[in-house]
C-alpha cells in the first residue's frame, strides 16, 4: 500500500454527472502531481440506470483500480446500497442532506456518513441545483485535505471556454462554499489525505483509446473510416477531432463493411488507413479482412472487445474475441495481432501496427477492450514515446526505383520472405491489377493453375516466419524465478502486476508474470520464457481460456490453472488474488 493512496467512487444515475465529475477530479489530482487510475462502470443508457466511476489516486504509480473504496460520493440512495460493501471500515459516504438514506447498514458496516446541504448550496450560492456536482467536488477536496486550487483550475478550464466566465464563476463559488462547510464538519474525521506532490514532473492523463489514436497519428495514420460502436468510437472521434489540424481523412461510413473496405481502398493506394470497431462490427468486416490478406493490403483494424455473444454487454469489458480474430475469415492468410495492456502500450500499438502492416503487407489487428478504452491513466512523459516512433513503410518502391525498372512490374513476385516489393498505383511503369481471386505474380486472376497456387499461397504465408521471429515475447514482471507464473495478455496487465507485487510482498519469490502484447503470430521467443515457469496460471477475461488454448496449441505447454472473469467487469488485483486462493486449493485438478 502506498503511503498516500486512496480510492474515491462516484455513483448515481446516468445524467447525474458521475463520469464527468470523476474525470474532473482525476484531472485535478493529476495536476497536483499524483498518479491516477480510473475505471468507469456504466450501462448503455443515456439517462437513468446505475453508473459509477472509480478513481484511485496515489503518490506511487497506479497501474489499475482496486476493489476497495475509501470515499463514496452517493448521488442517490441506490448508490449506497450498491457500493456499501466496497467501502473500507472507517471510510465515508458523502451524500446530500436532503436524500433519504438507509442509515443502519452504513453504521453496521462501520462507515461514516457525511451528509451535506449540497443541493441547497448549489441553489443558494450558485443559483442552480445543477451545481450540486460541483459542490460534491468541493466537499471531496475538503474531506481529503486536497488543495482546492487544483479543483478550481479544472472548473475554470471546463466551464470557462464552453459556457462562459459567469458560469465558471458561479461554480467556483459553490465549490468554495462546499469546501469550507465540509472541511469544518468532517475534515478531521476522514483519515486518508491527498497531498499535492511538489515539483512533480509533467504527467499526462489519458485513456487507451486516446493513446492508440495518438500513436497511430504519430505513426502516419491519415485515414480512418469507421462506423460508431462502443467502446471503439472514441478512437474514431479522437482522430476526427484532430482531422483538420493534421490533415486526416475521417469518414463515418454506412456500416462496418463499408468502413473496412473503404480503409482497404485507401491503404491500397498508399495511405496509412485504419478502422476501429468492436466484436459485432468486426464480425461484419471478416470477409474484407481476407480480401486484405489476399490482396496484400496493409490494413489496420482495432477490435475494442466487449462481452458477447451478439450485442452482449455494450459498455462492459471482455477478452472474448481472441480466437475469433486469430481465425476470422475463410482460408488462411497471414495476419498480425497486437494486444496492448496499458496506455503506453496502446500508444506503441498505434504506430507499430502500421509499420508491421506495411512491412508484411497484410492486415494487423489491435485487440483492446472496454476497460482500456475508458480508463484514464496518468503516465509520465516517457510513456508517450514520440521519439521512438519510426515510420517504416517496408518494401515500398519509390518513383525513382520504379523509373529504373527493367522488367515488367510483378506486384506479387514470389520472394523468399514472402514480401513482394510494393508499388502504389499511379506510376506508368507499375500498372497492375490486384484480384481477390488467386492470381499470378503479375496479378492476373483466375489463375487456378496448380503450380501457381503452390507458389502464391505459400508465398503469402511465408511472411509469418519473419513476423514470428520479430514479435515481442512476453515481458517478465517480478522475480526471474517464482513458485507461480501468472500469464496474461492485453488489458489485464496492471491488475496482474499489482497482484504479483502483493504476493511477493507477503512472500518473496512466490509469483511472477509473463504478459503478452504480441499474440499472433505467436512470438518465437515465448517458449524460452514459458519453459522457465514452474506453475503456469493463465488469467483472462473469457470463459473458455482462449489464450490458454492458443498457448497450448503453439507451444505444447499446458497451463496448470485458469482464472477467468466473465462478468464484464475489468480484472483487478483483488479478483486475481481471491481466485488464486481457490487455485491453491485445487492444484492439479483444474486442467485447461
Amino acid at each position: 500500500m502506498a503511503v498516500h493512496e486512496l480510492s474515491i467512487k462516484l455513483a448515481g444515475e446516468a445524467g447525474q454527472g458521475v463520469e464527468s465529475n470523476g474525470a474532473g477530479f482525476a484531472r485535478a489530482a493529476a495536476r497536483a502531481g499524483l498518479y491516477v487510475y480510473t475505471a468507469s462502470d456504466y450501462m448503455s443508457r443515456i439517462r437513468g440506470g446505475h453508473n459509477s466511476y472509480l478513481l484511485r489516486i496515489s503518490d506511487q504509480k497506479a497501474r489499475v483500480h482496486r476493489d476497495s473504496v475509501h470515499l463514496l460520493l452517493a448521488f442517490n440512495p441506490h448508490a449506497i446500497t450498491a457500493h456499501l460493501h466496497e467501502v473500507v471500515p472507517g471510510g465515508a459516504i458523502i451524500v446530500d442532506e436532503g436524500m433519504r438514506i438507509p442509515e443502519d447498514p452504513v453504521k453496521a458496516a462501520g462507515l461514516q456518513l457525511f451528509p451535506l446541504p449540497l443541493k441547497d448550496l448549489a441553489e443558494r450560492v450558485g443559483g442552480s441545483k445543477i451545481m450540486l456536482n460541483t459542490a460534491a467536488l468541493g466537499a471531496t477536496a475538503a474531506v481529503t485535505g486536497f488543495d482546492l486550487a487544483y479543483v478550481e483550475g479544472v472548473i475554470r478550464d471546463n466551464f470557462g471556454s464552453k459556457k462562459g466566465a459567469a458560469v465558471a464563476e458561479a461554480n467556483l463559488k459553490v465549490a468554495r462554499a462546499a469546501y469550507e462547510l465540509a472541511g469544518d464538519r468532517y475534515g478531521r474525521r476522514f483519515p486518508w489525505k491527498l497531498h499535492a506532490v511538489e515539483d512533480a514532473p509533467r504527467r499526462y492523463l489519458l485513456n487507451g483509446n486516446q493513446a492508440l489514436a495518438m500513436g497511430a497519428l504519430a505513426g502516419g495514420c491519415r485515414f480512418i473510416s469507421a462506423y460508431p460502436m462502443t467502446p471503439a468510437s472514441s478512437i474514431f472521434e479522437w482522430l476526427t477531432a484532430h482531422a483538420q489540424r493534421f490533415n486526416v481523412v475521417s469518414k463515418q461510413m454506412e456500416d462496418e463493411i463499408a468502413a473496412v473496405t473503404m480503409a482497404i481502398g485507401a491503404a491500397y493506394v498508399g495511405a496509412r488507413a485504419m478502422t476501429a470497431t468492436s466484436g459485432g462490427g468486426f464480425s461484419l468486416m471478416v470477409e474484407a479482412l481476407g480480401l486484405a490478406g489476399m490482396a496484400e493490403v496493409p490494413l489496420v483494424v482495432v477490435d475494442a472487445q466487449r462481452p458477447g455473444p451478439s450485442t452482449g454487454m455494450p459498455t462492459r469489458s471482455d477478452q472474448g474475441d481472441l480466437l475469433f480474430v486469430t481465425h476470422a475469415s475463410q482460408g488462411e492468410f497471414p495476419r498480425l495481432i497486437l494486444a496492448p495492456g496499458n496506455v503506453r502500450q496502446c500508444f506503441e500499438a498505434g504506430y507499430r501496427a502500421f509499420n508491421l502492416a506495411e512491412r508484411y503487407q497484410t492486415p494487423v489487428i489491435v485487440l483492446t477492450n472496454g476497460f482500456l478504452a475508458s480508463s484514464l491513466e496518468t503516465v509520465d512523459a516517457q510513456d508517450l514515446p514520440f521519439d521512438e516512433v519510426r515510420i517504416d513503410r517496408g518494401e515500398l518502391l519509390d518513383a525513382a526505383a520504379l523509373d529504373g525498372l527493367e522488367e515488367p512490374y510483378a506486384r506479387f513476385r514470389v520472394t523468399e520472405s514472402g514480401v513482394s516489393p510494393r508499388a502504389l498505383p499511379g506510376h506508368p511503369k507499375a500498372v497492375y491489377t490486384t484480384p481477390s481471386d488467386e492470381h499470378t505474380e503479375y496479378g492476373a486472376f483466375e489463375s487456378e493453375d496448380v503450380a501457381n497456387r503452390l507458389q502464391q499461397q505459400p508465398k503469402r504465408m511465408r511472411k509469418l516466419e519473419a513476423a514470428r521471429a520479430e514479435m515481442n515475447g512476453p515481458s517478465l514482471y517480478g522475480p526471474g524465478e517464482a513458485d507461480v507464473t501468472l500469464v496474461g495478455w492485453g488489458s489485464t496487465l496492471g491488475a496482474l502486476q499489482e497482484a504479483v507485487d502483493e504476493l511477493n510482498r507477503s512472500r518473496p519469490g512466490s509469483a511472477n508474470l509473463l504478459h503478452f502484447t504480441d499474440l499472433w503470430p505467436f512470438p518465437a521467443s515465448a517458449e524460452g520464457a514459458l519453459a522457465r515457469a514452474r506453475q503456469l496460471v493463465v488469467v483472462e477475461e473469457n470463459q473458455t481460456g482462449q489464450f490458454a488454448r492458443l498457448l497450448r496449441a503453439e507451444t505444447g505447454r499446458r497451463p496448470d490453472h485458469l482464472i477467468t472473469r466473465i462478468d464484464g467487469r475489468a480484472m483487478t488485483p483483488d479478483y486475481i488474488l481471491e481466485n488464486l486462493k481457490e487455485v491453491a486449493l485445487h492444484v492439479g485438478s483444474q486442467a485447461v
Partner: protein
C-alpha cells in the same frame, strides 16, 4: 486521342461469346483513349461477377475486390488519392443487391468516381438466379414460379437520392456507350452509368433483340433537357415499348465530397509524404492531456 492498343491487356476475356460485357470493355477503352487518360492514371475497382472481371482485361490499374464492395473500396481509394480517376465496376447483383446499401450512400456522398453497372438483369457468374433488376415474374433457378418482387429501378433510386449524374447505356451500342462513359468520367462527382448488358446465357428475355427494338437515344429527342429533374424522373420510369438511353440527368456546380474536406486541400494522404510529427505538433497534443 490515345492509341486504343495502349489498354490492351495480356489476359484474354473469358466471357461467353456474345456477352454484353465485351461491348462495355471496348467502350471503356474508347472513352479513356478519347479523354487521353493513361493506364496509370486510372484505377478500376470491381466486385465479383462476370462483369467484375473487367479490370483483368484492360491494361490499367485494377483491383477486383469482393462481392458487393467495389463502391466503398473505390471511394477509399479516391479520398486517399484524389489524383487518380477511379472507376467502380459492378454487376446488378453486386451493385444493387449485396452492395445496395453502399450504392445508396455513394450517391448522396458525391465523391468523384464513375460507377459502371453491367446490368444484365440476372446473376451470370452464379449461373442464372434472378437479380434485383429482374422483372417481376422473371423465371430463374431460384424463382421457378417467377420473381415475386418488383424490380429495383436504379435510375429512379439514384435520382431520388440526389445523384448528380445519371445515365443509361446499351452495350449493343458501344459508340454511344463510350460517349456516356467519357461524360461520366468528366463529371465532377458520383456518376452512374447503368448499362443494359445482355447475358446471352441466362437471360432469354432481355436479349440484344429485345433492346434493339426498344432503346432510343435521349439526345436525339430535341425536347429532352438532361438538367430538368422532372423530365429525368419521368424517363427513369419509362420501360416497356420504349427504353431511353443517354444522360438522363446531370446537375452541374454541386461540389464533390472531396472538395469539401479540408484535410484534402493539399492532396490525398496517399500523395503526401509521411513525416514524423513536429515538436510543435507533439506539444499541442500533449497540452490537451494535462
Amino acid at each position: 486521342m490515345l492509341d486504343l492498343k495502349l489498354y490492351k491487356s495480356e489476359n484474354k476475356p473469358t466471357w461467353c461469346p456474345g456477352c454484353g460485357d465485351f461491348g462495355i470493355l471496348n467502350a471503356v477503352k474508347q472513352a479513356l483513349a478519347d479523354l487521353e487518360i493513361w493506364p496509370h492514371e486510372v484505377l478500376f475497382v470491381s466486385g465479383i461477377g462476370c462483369g467484375s472481371k473487367l479490370p483483368d482485361y484492360i491494361n490499367a490499374n485494377g483491383f477486383t475486390t469482393v462481392h458487393g464492395r467495389a463502391l466503398p473500396v473505390a471511394q477509399g481509394a479516391k479520398l486517399a488519392h484524389p489524383g487518380l480517376h477511379v472507376v467502380a465496376v459492378t454487376g446488378d447483383g453486386d451493385g444493387y443487391g449485396i452492395g445496395g446499401n453502399h450504392f445508396l450512400h455513394a450517391i448522396r456522398r458525391n465523391i468523384d468516381i464513375t460507377h459502371i453497372v453491367e446490368d444484365n438483369l440476372v446473376y451470370g457468374l452464379t449461373k442464372g438466379q434472378y437479380s434485383p433488376t429482374s422483372a417481376k415474374g422473371f423465371v430463374s433457378s431460384t424463382t421457378p414460379e417467377g420473381a415475386i418482387e418488383r424490380a429495383v429501378n436504379p435510375l429512379a433510386l439514384a435520382l431520388a437520392n440526389g445523384a448528380t449524374f445519371v445515365a443509361r447505356g446499351f452495350s449493343g451500342d458501344p459508340k454511344h456507350l463510350a460517349s456516356l462513359f467519357a461524360q461520366a468520367l468528366k463529371h465532377p462527382g458520383y456518376a452512374l452509368v447503368d448499362v443494359l448488358q445482355p447475358c446471352v446465357i441466362y437471360n432469354r428475355l432481355n436479349t440484344y433483340d429485345f433492346y434493339e427494338q426498344r432503346v432510343y437515344r435521349l439526345e436525339e429527342d430535341a425536347n429532352y433537357d438532361p438538367h430538368d429533374p422532372e423530365q429525368a424522373w419521368q424517363r427513369a420510369h419509362e420501360w416497356g415499348e420504349r427504353i431511353p438511353i443517354g444522360v438522363l440527368y446531370q446537375e452541374s456546380g454541386v461540389p464533390t465530397y472531396e472538395e469539401q474536406v479540408p484535410a484534402l486541400a493539399q492532396g490525398g494522404p496517399a500523395q503526401r509524404p509521411m513525416p514524423p510529427l513536429t515538436e510543435a505538433e507533439r506539444e499541442a497534443l500533449l497540452a490537451e492531456l494535462v
